[in-house]
């Protein structure tokens, strides 16, 4: 299966461990990923301050139109924020002819055209529905042996359309964790937003959200948190110090990407492929204990 990968701005920097690990994992599962040529930023969830809806849609329509004219494969977005921006644009443009015509007038300035011929999909969606649980199980040579993982879903990963999972009771993340031998713990806050992009500007208000998520994961027995979005990972991992300082807590909870755990389970190199050394709170000890070595 061939796909376009839309990594977005953060997978090249803060979310580097996501990129490093997802590439070999997808390859092992027979998925071929190609970058969208000369892609631009999706606008994330914060651009509304500087631009109107139509402008933000233009950003995403440009990326989709380039993908359509250079191969037409489905676009896979590993970042939930990119995913939602691309998905929303694709969804609304396919449904609303008037809007589509407007966008095409705009895209014409760059000799592009939106046709509505492909789908935008989250990485979890293609892992679960295209690669499939059986294949993932068959590639698992180092089971995680019941490692207790909190499969954090966050908000934009499945909301608002629920394309591949329930918006209220998502199960895909946990199913994927089970397939590699982990034991996903029940975890009521798995859908609570982490604070996202307003973190830098509204720090105090967001620290409480992160604290609640960490507390809930730990109270339910999790040894590690798995995420599927670079913003979630960043907020949950990098702000633990600030949460501890503010609330007098002593969190030191490793946060990894699902694809890092999959790389481990597929028997890949813990550094160059699973990218465990990219984590600021070291997960190696817990993971090595689980796989036995």
């Amino acid at each position: 299966m061939k796909y376009f990968l839309y990594g977005g701005c953060s997978l090249e920097a803060g979310g580097k461990n996501y990129m490093v690990s997802l590439e070999p994992v997808c390859k092992a599962l027979g998925m071929e990923l190609e970058e969208i040529e000369d892609w631009n930023c999706c606008g994330a969830s914060i651009s509304y301050a500087g631009a109107n809806e139509l402008s933000i849609m233009t950003l995403n329509a440009r990326n989709i139109a380039i993908a359509e004219s250079t191969g037409g494969y489905d676009i896979v977005a590993p970042c939930s924020s990119c995913y939602i921006q691309l998905l929303k644009t694709n969804h609304e443009l396919k449904e609303d002819e008037e809007l589509r015509n407007k966008i095409n007038v705009i895209l014409k300035e760059g000799n592009l055209n939106f046709k509505g011929s492909l789908n935008v999909r989250h990485l979890m969606d293609v892992l679960y529905n295209d690669a499939g649980i059986d294949k993932i199980k068959s590639k698992t040579v180092k089971s995680l042996n019941g490692l207790k993982v909190a499969g954090y879903v966050g908000c934009q990963t499945v909301r608002p359309y629920g394309e591949y999972d329930s918006v209220e009771r998502p199960k895909v993340h946990d199913q994927l964790l089970k397939a590699i031998g982990a034991d996903p713990v029940p975890f009521p806050k798995k859908m609570q937003c982490c604070g996202s992009g307003i973190f830098l500007t509204e720090l105090d208000r967001c620290l409480g959200l992160v604290k609640e998520i960490l507390e809930d994961a730990i109270a339910n027995g999790a040894q590690i948190i798995s995420t599927v979005c670079p913003m979630c990972a960043l907020n949950l991992e990098m702000y633990q110090d600030k949460v501890n300082a503010k609330f007098g807590t002593s969190f030191n909870m490793p946060v990894v990407y699902l694809t890092q755990l999959m790389a481990v389970a597929f028997g890949m190199d813990l550094k160059s492929e699973a990218a465990l050394d990219y984590c600021v709170i070291p997960p190696e000890g817990i993971i090595k204990a689980a796989i036995g070595g």
């Binding site: 701005c9 953060s10 090249e12 920097a13 803060g14 979310g15 580097k16 461990n17 000369d38 892609w39 631009n40 930023c41 606008g43 994330a44 969830s45 914060i46 651009s47 509304y48 301050a49 500087g50 631009a51 109107n52 809806e53 139509l54 402008s55 849609m57 233009t58 950003l59 440009r62 924020s81 407007k102 007038v105 705009i106 895209l107 300035e109 760059g110 000799n111 908000c155 934009q156 909301r159 608002p160 629920g162 918006v167 209220e168 609570q192 937003c193 996202s196 992009g197 307003i198 830098l200 500007t201 509204e202 967001c206 959200l209 990098m238 110090d241 050394d277 990219y278 984590c279 600021v280």
Partner: protein, 195 residues
């Protein structure tokens, strides 16, 4: 007209016509589900349901100065749950954008950060994770700006040590000229208007 929280009968119409997704408010039946679903409801002065009541009641000042419209994290829970299918989040963003355009929302905070974010996209087509926080922090002035940046520095150093910082500055995308033309056109054609 708009005095201290005075009643301004034209305000609702103004929102319907000029704010992105503003007309959707007309469908609101005041059930409060959006407010109950919002993760930041305890931090908001007026949760989304109440913002919509205030708009219909012509309370311009309360709405445009409200903290709520600047706090939205874009988590989409309100949009998923609204029984009338109102894209509550889009209205909140639309109001924030409108407020900035009118100069009501201050230069510092989420709104300003988003403004810097947008400028960078417009100029190079991508976001540079290193320089964006710095540019944002400098908005509050040089000295406090440097202080805020230093407070976040330990995090940056940790990220750097774990290979999670890109060293080279982000370069312009190749199609930046065309992208600018498109964005200029979108600004002209869109409802939220020029900013």
């Amino acid at each position: 007209m708009a005095g201290n929280g005075n009643y301004d009968p034209s305000f609702a119409k103004e929102v319907f016509e000029n704010v992105d997704s503003g007309e959707e408010i007309k469908m609101c039946m005041q059930c409060g589900i959006c407010a109950g679903s919002c993760p930041l409801r305890h931090e908001m002065d007026y949760p989304p349901r109440q913002i919509f009541t205030l708009i219909r009641a012509g309370r311009r000042d309360e709405v445009m100065n409200s903290r709520a419209i600047k706090l939205c994290t874009s988590c989409y829970r309100c949009k998923v749950r609204c029984p009338r299918g109102i894209p509550v989040i889009d209205v909140m963003h639309g109001l924030a954008h409108y407020g900035i355009k009118k100069g009501i929302i201050p230069r510092k905070g989420t709104a300003a950060f988003g403004g810097e974010f947008w400028k960078m996209i417009y100029n190079i087509g991508r976001i540079d994770e290193k320089t964006l926080p710095l540019k944002y922090n400098l908005l509050e002035g040089l000295v406090p700006g440097i202080k805020s940046t230093l407070e976040m520095a330990p995090m940056g150093i940790q990220m750097f040590l774990h290979h999670r910082m890109k060293l080279l500055p982000e370069r312009k995308i190749k199609g930046i000229k065309d992208l600018k033309k498109m964005l200029d056109k979108a600004k002209e054609m869109g409802k939220g208007g020029a900013s």
